[in-house]
């Protein structure tokens, strides 16, 4: 459809010998085609979200109608049910605690490491972290499950924070390496010459200068921990069950309550979407472990 892939439409098409009027018309048709394609792509991308929101505001009768009900009087009853009947607030709190702990510990361990990789070019360490990205998460889970079981740590924040750290810490390190590389070395050297120790320089000079990066890395780590399903599925229990596992359990037992599932899906996704808006520049570089600068 788009005739000139990879190029912006220029005023003169190559190899065309048409009358100016014909040229103009062809350009119009092309432009219209491009717009139509763009709209189709956007609709496909957004439709599942649209459907999720629609489902969450429809009652069960409308949701189970054989012909989709597009217009209806919105109801909050699904949200009331999910929040009221299912301990949803407790699960949200669990998710929040786990993601905060994993991000906090991830920052404590990851920031100095990222700084060190950026300053001393410790590529071996960087490579080890990249290897972690290759390994299927269940590989970690089998030994960890046995260990936590022996230590009676299943269904504790210790087990969930430790495993969520596997997801968050490499992410924090990768994002922060490029931020630390941008801190001018002169500033550090000046502080060092003035008698500040390396550690004090790191805490008082380097970290404040990298604050935007730290915010982005923290949010990304939080999102990934919030979204984590596999570790939580095996290691959580009534005391620590986070939202994704709770919602998964909704579908495993009992009849399908479309509206309830829609409302639950909206409630899990909403915080992630809001956080994403705050750090959208860094999402792609985070997902690609710094391979691509968003």
């Amino acid at each position: 459809m788009s005739a000139l892939p990879g190029t912006t439409p220029g005023p003169t098409g190559p190899g065309r010998r048409a009358t100016p009027a014909g040229d103009k018309r062809r350009r119009r048709i092309r432009q219209a085609g491009i717009v139509v394609l763009m709209v189709i792509v956007l609709v496909i991308m957004l439709f599942p979200f649209y459907w999720m929101i629609l489902t969450s505001f429809r009652n069960q009768v409308a949701n189970t109608s054989p012909v989709p009900v597009w217009f209806f009087k919105p109801t909050l009853e699904n949200y009331a049910n999910v929040i009221g009947q299912n301990n949803f607030l407790a699960y949200t709190l669990h998710s929040f605690i786990i993601a905060t702990l994993a991000t906090g510990v991830g920052l404590l361990l990851g920031l100095p490491a990222a700084y060190s990789i950026a300053r001393y070019k410790q590529n071996g360490l960087a490579f080890a972290i990249l290897l972690a990205r290759l390994t299927p998460y269940i590989t970690y889970l089998v030994p960890w499950y046995l260990a936590f079981r022996a230590l009676h740590l299943i269904d504790t924040y210790v087990a969930l924070t430790a495993t969520h750290l596997i997801v968050g810490m490499p992410l924090i390190i990768w994002i922060m390496i490029s931020f630390f590389e941008e801190v001018p070395r002169d500033l550090e050297e000046a502080a060092y010459v003035d008698g500040a120790s390396r550690f004090a320089t790191f805490v008082r000079i380097v970290l404040p200068l990298s604050a935007p990066g730290i915010v982005a890395a923290s949010i990304l780590s939080f999102i990934f921990s919030w979204n984590q399903f596999l570790f939580s599925l095996v290691l959580s229990g009534p005391n620590t069950k986070p939202v994704p596992v709770a919602v998964f359990n909704f579908i495993s037992y009992g009849e399908i309550n479309f509206g309830g599932l829609g409302a639950a899906a909206v409630l899990i996704t909403l915080p992630v979407v809001l956080l994403t808006l705050a750090i959208q520049r860094y999402i792609v570089s985070g997902l690609t472990m710094g391979a691509v600068k968003g």
């Binding site: 990879g6 439409p9 792509v41 590989t139 979204n227 399908i256």
Partner: protein
């Protein structure tokens, strides 16, 4: 005393800074990978006493039809999803590589599928796939096509699941390629046009080579993650109907945490890890070989 500690730290900053993370990586990541190898050499029922059986679990896998089914499904899923994501991602990148109003908004919107909680995404797709009440069958009928069982049909389960993966990850491929496209200097195109190159030739000889390394990175990342896909498969079908959509990852999960055979699960995961490593090394060689 504090002075001496500070000086000791300064002299050894190079390894003291990364030390906490290195310890964490050894405990959290390297340790478990090695422990997994150890476990795989045992008949290890969770809650029972482990018994050393050498490579017994690996031999058992090779004669287990369910292992081969899982391996086949893993590559079937990846083989559909990843090429589709690359081709569609390139198409979308090219389509949006122009100036228009709302470009920033489109960028933001395209982040949503990849950051939204996978369990929520899987749930919504499960509702849309529902054979009797799902909206996808409504669309099929509206287009004059037959209704489908989607993931409830064992022939269609994997292809249907790849639709979810393609929806979720094509935007990421597109964003990676779009960043690369925007780095191609426009003089290159102007020079090609002066030399009389057509649009296809410009695409083939200028655009594609310029975005090649970004494309390989996207390909490797997607292949690694597609081979390891767990959330959407487990939430939507749990490997079913029967074992029709059971990938190696899902089979290993069930072996370990539903049948409690930790030793056998560990050996399955080593097969999967070898597959992931092999594929990423193979794809990485694309980076160097000439176009």
């Amino acid at each position: 005393m504090a002075e001496r500690a500070a000086r000791f730290f300064d002299r050894n900053a190079q390894w003291l800074f990364p030390l906490p993370a290195v310890v964490a990586i050894v405990i959290l990541i390297l340790g478990p990978v090695l422990a997994n190898v150890y476990i795989s050499l045992h008949d290890w029922f969770i809650g029972g006493t482990p018994k050393f059986i050498g490579l017994g679990n690996f031999g058992r896998a090779l004669s287990d039809l369910r292992f081969w089914n899982g391996l086949k499904n893993t590559f079937y899923f990846t083989g559909i999803a990843v090429p589709a994501e690359m081709v569609l991602g390139l198409g979308v990148a090219v389509l949006f590589n122009r100036d228009f109003r709302g470009k920033a908004l489109v960028r933001t919107v395209s982040l949503l599928p990849m950051v939204a909680t996978p369990v929520a995404i899987a749930l919504i797709w499960a509702l849309m796939f529902n054979p009797s009440l799902g909206v996808l069958n409504y669309f099929l009928e509206a287009l004059g096509l037959h209704r489908s069982l989607w993931v409830a049909n064992s022939q269609l389960a994997i292809p249907a699941l790849t639709i979810v993966d393609i929806w979720e990850w094509t935007p990421m491929v597109a964003l990676i390629l779009l960043a690369a496209l925007q780095g191609v200097p426009s003089e290159h195109y102007e020079a090609a046009l002066i030399d009389g190159a057509g649009p296809w030739q410009a695409f083939r000889f200028i655009t594609l080579p310029s975005i090649r390394s970004a494309a390989v990175v996207a390909l490797i990342l997607r292949a690694i993650d597609a081979l390891k896909t767990f959330d959407i498969i487990y939430v939507i079908t749990q490997g079913g109907p029967g074992t029709a959509s059971e990938t190696l990852n899902v089979f290993a999960f069930k072996t370990g945490f539903e049948f409690f055979r930790a030793g056998y699960a560990a050996s399955l995961l080593i097969f999967l890890l070898v597959a992931v490593l092999g594929v990423s090394i193979l794809l990485n060689s694309l980076r160097r070989s000439p176009a």
